[in-house]
């Protein structure tokens, strides 16, 4: 009976609520109870008790089979409450999906709602929702379609997009605007999570943009905003349309219900203005299209309401972003004036924000509002103050820097928000630690002054450390560590162990970052001299040796070792070297032997995680040259591989082993390698001797230049130094390495079917039933077809690329295919080709094939023979392949590539026949030599990230094993040997479409240690397989 009562009770309030619409649930329902409980909460403890109780009760009820969908809906709302208060209710997730599946109307909607609130994009449970969505999308009930589209637009598993995409696309032409609008928004979601999936429907986006309903049109703007942001040049042709739309909106052409406080569709206007600013940026002709409508927007927005100011703000931003027009700028400036002078604080804030945005173009604007700015600086609201400082920061120049910094400091003293402090602090001193360290290490002209300054630094830092180091900032601690490590010996009577004991506590500070600790440890390593220090080092090693931080452990290890070996330490960390250049073999080639040994011993090859470069790039913040001093000097320098390893080397050091190579590299801008030793030059391997000569001169010039930079950075207040070192940090753009195929001429009449290579942009990404050849076969003959590689686009249009030579009569009973060979077109017979292999024979049809390698393509020649006495009609050959695109271009490399097909034909008196066959091609059929210079090789090498290392068999019979082995690989795999020097060789090849694969070979312990790199992730592995096979077969 209690069940009945409960059901009535839960049904009752919702009925009541429907009547009154304002809907106050009776407090006797469970949800009502919960809500009352929540409103009466007095403490966090109570809340926890209440919610835990609630969760237990929900859990009980959701799994009960008697729970109706209406009750389930209420349960979901209760679960949403629990989650909202921060208590996970993961057990209810699956029930939310169930409710979406089984509920109707509002219950179903709440099910979907709960799913979108509970689940993450990546949650696997989402997959269970896909079927429900599919069903609802096909429902005849519009409200269900609507719900499904809403949820798809909010949260949908990326991998399942193809499943719903056709249905969503279909909805773009639905008669109801709301369905069309939601479909567009769903596509927008798809675009956000998987842009490639919706690439083919760009034309439909255009249709949505031109939809007669303003709602659908404005929904499509979301997609356009993203696309234009991504690639403005691709949508310039739409500028006119956007301008027209904005004109109509501003002119009040929209239905009145789009108005908000009598302003026509303000958010739509803002969105359009944003798109226009993207399109007009740095583009004069596009900007000219916009001037009129922008002017009108400024004029129309005269009403004194917040929302018009929001539009004005956007308008001003656009005017200052696009190609400038004096008249408009003037109006916009006046407009900003209204903002700044407004007594309304929100407007003032926005005015400051706008000023901050525009002063970069026109600093005079700030002058006009000087007094207001100064007032704002003393404003009681910290937010206004903060924004003003941001503005001041942008107009800082050499004359005002002092005043502005004072103001910033004043603000920092008041502010309690750490985040703001760090943000502003970072702005104020873009690179003070760097500049200071440079000053210390480079010094002035006078030796004595230098010594005094350094001594002063040492003394003040020592006293700081004695005081309370925990209060100091991380960066400052790093600076202190370095200075003490380098210069504490200047202070007479100071025992290194004293400094060590002062630095040691930094390791114990909880707030010390790993970076700081490393600096401290490096400093200690430099100082570690004498038995007392060794014991401190031992102590530290004992205490921190168990640290989980590998960097820290490494430093400790170094400290211990170098402390024990003073002569090694003086070599690694020489004292008083100042800014002498360092040579760093960043490729770590000195480890090659170790690596090969480890590989031989069965270690897994090292795969460089791509994020490593990014992570290291984050550390670049403090790219201090002097830090380089603490890097080991004793690295050997022999490798082809120069990797952009983000050490703290500055580009400006410009000290490479081979300065002659630098001049022409500088202009490329792509990858700055100065500072990294070059071992391979135009002439091949570069000897070491020439390196030493220009170094000192260079160092002098560089030092002078750096001083100038330093001076300017100190006096202007805003250093430009911070950006100079960045290019080195791995993020450099890879050099272009496209190998573009030249377009080919039309196929000749004699039977090959080469077509001109179309622009790759126009090639559709995939065609399943690639070659499709309808033709008639004469009786008892053989015909051969060549399916050229380059028929991509034209294939679709003409549908027939095969040329049949019906005059070629062959005796088909000849077992060894000699005649087939003779029927190869003349120009193919001279080229390397595979054996002719029979594909299949079926009733009266025999198919065989071979492939021919030309320079730029692989041709598949299919021999079709009709063994019957009558002519076969309507012969059709279809081929498909998962591994190959457009006949014979590998879509991705693999060791073998399968090609499958169906041949169908009809004899005059018989039923249509068909037969299947398959054909396997090896990767080597697609490998071609890549002729590059050593120079280009080096550049390419750096551009690729997919690499594989392995040891291969060395052919050791001959006098020159390396040459022999590489020669064999060249003959078997068609690779190009770029260079061989001593025990190293470099080899290059490419896949047909032009993806190169580079190979660095080195003789090591009777093996050939190879290191492959390519732009394609699979290529090195596959190629390695074939190398192994070629060597094994020898």
């Amino acid at each position: 009976m209690s069940d009945v009562v409960e059901k009535t009770l839960t049904a009752l309030p919702s009925l009541l609520s429907l009547d009154s619409q304002s809907g106050k649930l009776s407090s006797s329902s469970k949800l009502g109870n919960l809500i009352r409980g929540i409103t009466e909460l007095t403490s966090k403890h109570d809340e926890e008790k209440l919610i835990q109780r609630e969760l237990v009760s929900i859990k009980e009820q959701v799994s009960s089979p008697n729970t109706s969908m209406r009750q389930m809906k209420e349960l979901m709302v209760r679960a949403i409450y629990c989650e909202m208060l921060g208590y996970e209710a993961s057990f209810s997730y699956i029930h939310a999906i169930k409710l979406a599946q089984q509920g109707t109307a509002l219950d179903k909607r709440v099910g979907y709602l709960a799913v979108s609130l509970f689940l993450n994009e990546s949650d696997e449970l989402l997959l269970l929702l896909v079927n429900t969505v599919l069903k609802d999308l096909q429902s005849t009930n519009l409200i269900e379609v609507c719900m499904a589209l809403t949820v798809v637009g909010q949260i949908f598993p990326k991998d399942m997009i193809p499943a719903v995409l056709p249905l969503v696309e279909e909805k773009l032409t639905h008669p109801k605007e709301i369905i069309r609008r939601k479909a567009v928004l769903a596509l927008y979601k798809f675009y956000l999570i998987a842009p490639n999936q919706v690439q083919h429907i760009h034309s439909k986006f255009r249709k949505a943009l031109c939809d007669k309903d303003p709602g659908v049109m404005s929904a499509s703007l979301h997609i356009y905003f993203e696309m234009v942001k991504e690639k403005p040049e691709g949508y310039k042709d739409l500028t006119g349309s956007f301008v027209t739309i904005l004109k109509q909106v501003v002119g009040g052409k929209l239905p009145i219900d789009f108005n908000y406080h009598s302003v026509p569709a303000p958010w739509l206007q803002i969105q359009l203005l944003r798109i226009l600013s993207l399109l007009g940026k740095n583009d004069r002709s596009m900007s000219e299209l916009m001037y009129e409508v922008l002017d009108e927007s400024l004029r129309r927005a005269e009403m004194n309401h917040n929302i018009t100011y929001a539009i004005l703000f956007e308008c001003v931003k656009t005017i200052y972003t696009i190609h400038p027009k004096a008249e408009l700028l003037e109006k916009a400036a006046k407009c900003i004036g209204n903002f700044v002078l407004s007594p309304k604080i929100n407007l003032k804030y926005l005015g400051l924000k706008a000023l901050t945005y525009v002063v970069q173009q026109d600093a005079n604007l700030a002058l006009q509002h000087q007094m207001t700015i100064i007032e704002c600086l003393d404003h009681s609201d910290l937010i206004i103050k903060r924004e003003t400082l941001e503005l001041l920061f942008r107009i800082t120049n050499s004359q005002n820097v002092k005043v502005i910094v004072e103001k910033l400091l004043e603000f920092l003293r008041q502010s309690k928000d750490d985040y703001i402090t760090i943000d502003l602090g970072g702005k104020m001193q873009p690179d003070i630690p760097n500049s200071f360290l440079r000053l210390l290490s480079e010094g002035f002209d006078s030796v004595e002054e230098n010594r005094q300054l350094r001594l002063l630094a040492v003394e003040s830092y020592l006293s700081l450390l004695q005081d309370r180091p925990a209060k100091l900032s991380q960066r400052f601690l790093q600076v202190i560590s370095w200075v003490l490590g380098e210069y504490s010996h200047l202070k007479e009577g100071l025992e290194p162990v004293t400094v060590l004991r002062l630095l040691a506590p930094l390791l114990d500070l909880r707030q010390s970052s790993t970076e700081t600790k490393s600096w401290a440890l490096t400093a200690m390593t430099k100082l570690c001299d004498g038995p007392a220090c060794v014991s401190v080092a031992q102590e530290l090693a004992d205490r921190h040796g168990g640290s989980l931080d590998t960097v820290l452990r490494q430093r400790l290890h170094e400290l211990q070792h170098l402390a024990a070996h003073p002569e090694l330490r003086t070599r690694v960390l020489p004292r008083n070297v100042g800014l002498e250049p360092l040579e760093v073999d960043s490729s770590l080639s000195f480890l090659d032997g170790f690596v090969s040994e480890a590989l031989a011993a069965g270690a897994a090859p090292y795969k460089p995680p791509h994020q490593r470069q990014e992570e290291l790039a984050q550390e670049k913040a403090l790219s201090v040259e002097p830090y380089g001093l603490s890097l080991p000097l004793s690295m050997s320098n022999c490798s082809v591989a120069e990797r952009p390893y983000p050490t703290a080397l500055s580009t400006s050091s410009g000290l490479s082993g081979n300065s002659t190579e630098l001049s022409h590299k500088g202009g490329s801008g792509a990858l700055k390698l100065e500072g990294v030793k070059r071992v391979w030059g135009k002439e091949g391997y570069l000897t070491q001797t020439e390196a030493a000569v220009p170094m000192e001169e260079m160092a002098q010039v560089e030092a002078d230049r750096e001083k100038q930079q330093l001076a300017s950075s100190l006096f202007v207040g805003l250093g430009s130094l911070s950006s100079t070192g960045l290019c080195l940090m791995g993020k450099a753009e890879p050099t272009p390495h496209r190998f573009r195929r030249r377009a080919k001429g039309q196929g000749s009449s004699s039977g090959t079917s080469e077509r001109s290579s179309p622009d790759s942009g126009s090639v559709p990404p995939h065609v399943d039933s690639a070659p499709h050849l309808p033709l008639d076969l004469p009786a008892n003959n053989g015909a051969q077809e060549d399916l050229g590689e380059d028929m991509s686009a034209s294939l679709i249009e003409t549908n027939g690329m095969a040329v049949v030579d019906p005059d070629t009569y062959i005796d088909l009973h000849d077992p060894d295919h000699v005649h087939l060979i003779s029927s190869l077109p003349g120009e193919l017979s001279a080229l390397p080709r595979s054996e002719i292999t029979p594909l299949c024979s079926h009733a009266s049809l025999a198919l065989s094939a071979c492939h021919v390698q030309t320079d730029r393509s692989a041709l598949l020649v299919v021999f079709v023979a009709n063994t019957s006495d009558s002519a076969a009609r309507r012969f059709v050959l279809r081929m498909t392949s998962g591994d190959l695109e457009y006949s014979l271009i590998p879509s991705r490399p693999s060791v073998h590539m399968e090609l499958a097909g169906v041949a169908s034909y009809q004899l005059p008196d018989g039923e249509p026949q068909s037969t299947q066959f398959s054909y396997t091609l090896s990767l080597t059929d697609f490998i071609r030599p890549l002729t590059v210079s050593t120079e280009e090789y080096g550049r390419l090498w750096l551009a690729f990230s997919n690499d594989t290392k392995q040891n291969l068999r060395l052919l050791s019979e001959g006098p020159d094993p390396l040459r022999d082995t590489l020669g064999l690989l060249r003959d078997k795999l068609q690779v190009h040997i770029v260079d061989i020097i001593a025990s190293e060789g470099i080899v290059a090849c490419q896949l047909l479409q032009g993806q190169p694969c580079l190979m660095h070979c080195r003789v090591n312990a009777g093996c050939l240690a190879v290191w492959l790199r390519s732009s394609l992730p699979e290529l090195p592995d596959c190629l390695l397989y074939h190398c192994q096979r070629a060597l094994a077969e020898h």
Binding site: K24, R109, I178, H222, W267, I270, I345
Partner: protein
């Protein structure tokens, strides 16, 4: 873009929350507490936009309720400020004089309304009639 929409009462208790960027359930409480600290204790004559870490909060005060929206730097604060008001006007029309209790007792419907207006952190509909259309249909269905 919009990162989240929160409805808080004067005591700082969350009455509604919608996140457009994933935030773990456990972290939300801390974030909301921060939001309460940065917005609720400000004077009436102070600016309605507050900087919070690397993004901004736009808040608006209605009787016993605060609505706080977290937005990225690129968003137009004032337009969001007005969006909040538009949202409240829609609620007001639906509930005819909306109160905190309406929102609490009809959290699902408030969410449905919000879903119509903001999707993926972007304003997708502001036309009041259109925002309410799907919910109105659901209500008619339930009544019949």
């Amino acid at each position: 873009m919009i990162k989240f929409v929160l409805m808080l009462n004067r005591q700082g208790q969350t009455r509604l929350s919608r996140y457009y960027q994933p935030v773990e359930v456990r972290r939300r409480a801390a974030l909301e507490a921060d939001v309460v600290r940065s917005c609720l204790y400000r004077d009436k004559d102070q600016c309605s936009f507050v900087e919070y870490q690397d993004f901004k909060l736009v808040y608006r005060h209605y009787a016993s309720l605060y609505i706080v929206v977290g937005i990225t730097e690129s968003e137009n604060e004032l337009s969001v400020y007005e969006l909040v008001h538009n949202f409240v006007e829609v609620l007001d029309r639906y509930f005819s004089r909306v109160s905190e209790l309406d929102i609490m007792f009809n959290m699902d419907k408030v969410h449905i309304i919000l879903d119509e207006m903001i999707q993926n952190g972007h304003v997708v509909e502001t036309n009041r009639t259109r925002v309410l259309a799907p919910l109105a249909t659901l209500d008619t269905l339930a009544r019949s």
